[in-house]
Symmetry: C2
Subunit: 411 residues, 2 copies
Amino acid sequence: MRCEVLAIGTELLLGQIVDTNSAWIGEQLALAGIDHHHQAKVGDNHGRIVGALRAALDRADAVIVCGGLGPTQDDITREAIAEVMGVDLEHHDEIAAVIRALFEARGRRMPDSNLRQAQVPRGATIIEQRRGTAPGLICPVPGGGVVYAVPGVPHEMQEMLTRSVLPDLRRRAGSTGAIRSRVLRTWGESESAVAELLSSRVAALDHGGSTTIAFQASGIEGIKVRITARADDDDRASALVAAEEAEVRAVLGDLVFGVDGESMEVAVGRLLVERGLTLAVAESLTGGLIASRLVGVAGASEFFTGGVVAYDPRVKHEVLGVPPGPVVSEATAKAMAEGVRAHLGATVGVSTTGVAGPDELEGQPPGTAWLGLALGDRVEAVEVRVPGDRERVRQYASISALDRLRRALRA
Amino acid sequence: MRCEVLAIGTELLLGQIVDTNSAWIGEQLALAGIDHHHQAKVGDNHGRIVGALRAALDRADAVIVCGGLGPTQDDITREAIAEVMGVDLEHHDEIAAVIRALFEARGRRMPDSNLRQAQVPRGATIIEQRRGTAPGLICPVPGGGVVYAVPGVPHEMQEMLTRSVLPDLRRRAGSTGAIRSRVLRTWGESESAVAELLSSRVAALDHGGSTTIAFQASGIEGIKVRITARADDDDRASALVAAEEAEVRAVLGDLVFGVDGESMEVAVGRLLVERGLTLAVAESLTGGLIASRLVGVAGASEFFTGGVVAYDPRVKHEVLGVPPGPVVSEATAKAMAEGVRAHLGATVGVSTTGVAGPDELEGQPPGTAWLGLALGDRVEAVEVRVPGDRERVRQYASISALDRLRRALRA
């Protein structure tokens, strides 16, 4: 089973929006074991969408088309797919009723233009919309291929792909029975190191069994380990995943910070709430990045007190009570963590100080970072060396500092 | 002249890296007036790169290939282009010498694998490398088309595209003589409003003249107005751009915050340094985003003192001296701006408080933001209503607050 991705939208070609959907879909296809060799983007142009669809179907068995399902005149994915299928569009009253009800629930009248979203190529199966107004489509095409149409809004697309498109693709790929999978998120080791740690598990599973392990780097956010199991029914597949998860966790231990979509800051927040602790951060090197990650967690007010961005050394000394001396140092990182905890009235303090670059500071090279932690009587700091440019150093130091707190909370 | 973009790399298909290069190149092509209808991505596979190149050349006159010029075995863009050209690869001693010198300048020995980067398809023109080790290539193909190969590292690609690829594309598009362009960055009005403001300028230029104006939305970072002029030589083209820039600035006034690659925080930083002022920020709604934007500016220590992320209301009251009362309010925003300025010892204070969502706060809907400013005797706050989800509300409020400071500093 080969599947391609086609993203639709003139705004993508013009660079007004960066297409993150294709990368997300590509990752899901890889983790599902579906071959995926091409991605393409075209604008809101009927002939070019039709041409791109036909080219993709020449190479692959399935195409996921993302975007162009909105209510306006330039949303023409439905028309293009109908042409490739060789059928007309039909109006579906029940889709129109659902969309009308969505508007009424928000106290608004449905504009007539939304009726376009009730047009469906004859012979297509509808994927019910749960987050937006546009239903998705599963469209058989002459020659045995299939085109899936999903919205371009990321959270609508992701929900529909997970719920409907990926299971349908797996069925067509000949995967019968139930499939369950779970992603264990790890941080602190490279992809090759995680793979090496789990090599005996991979070898144990590698005898035509129904459970598999796959690895994937996801930028600065760590390495994902996906456990997938196939069985005759859901319960058995879930049991296989749970059994393998226990094995993998026994090997990886503290490297695992979360499951599926959980970010590092979500994991940290949960541990803080469980322990009844509150966190304050003092940031020099990372300059507000840790705070903004934490504030991005829904419910952050339960565990996050606030932060001090101590960019000017005087702020370190006068506000946080850091003693005189070099700022890129263990003593400063420790004093910042203790100082911010006391200053903002939290029970835990985390700090960063270091050299983002491009120039040296206090004779230390770019990428030098001291990460401080004040947790109960424990006040400590560790030095890490971070590769990359200014932005990457700051991002990496942010997640490193959160990971250190996570491990300390679990200890 | 039609140009397509082909991004190379299995890591892009797997979703390990989001491809931002294609969006950037698409924007440059649009601003240069070059038609651009397709983008594609393929992995590090010889046959598929060759196939994608041939398909692109069937539709377009030029293809920009991004990535796969590195030194390792899976960097095979050079080989694929040679096959499409129908020629062999040749070793170029002078390229090898340049790469070797780059390594020696860093005190390292060049690995033999880097010699791959000295391989060039016969008949290709070399684009000198100035930021990385890989030279770019300009490759004529049978039938009159051209393939440009540039590195996948964004800052290397951008420099090479600007310096060499875009000028070469313009020449091939029949644009003779000199071309100069300048982007005026605006913030505070929609694309259609900016276009309407400048409609008389567009009409004045629309008589076959050699100067043009183009508009482009760039996400949350505002609307770009690009002025492009063609003339017989550089001096005349530059004079035409300067003359039109004066006309456009006379219309747009304070909407213009910077030119070309300047971000809002760079513009704010420059104004602060010019006036000998230092800035402290108090962030509730934006939770560290303003601070992290400011710290991202090289030389931020000249104008940025630091910040307080006042997420818990107690931090607002106890650390910043905000009086009791609703936190989503004018009074709180003003007190936060004054409080942080005094607390961190800066001369200017900026603050944000509001409702990121998804829930209401103090009876106010998500998207409600109060932006405070303390500048000399001037202490004030304005309310803005921001569309979108939690993340967008926070991003938009951050740039709004910086823009208000910018306008106040210019007043």
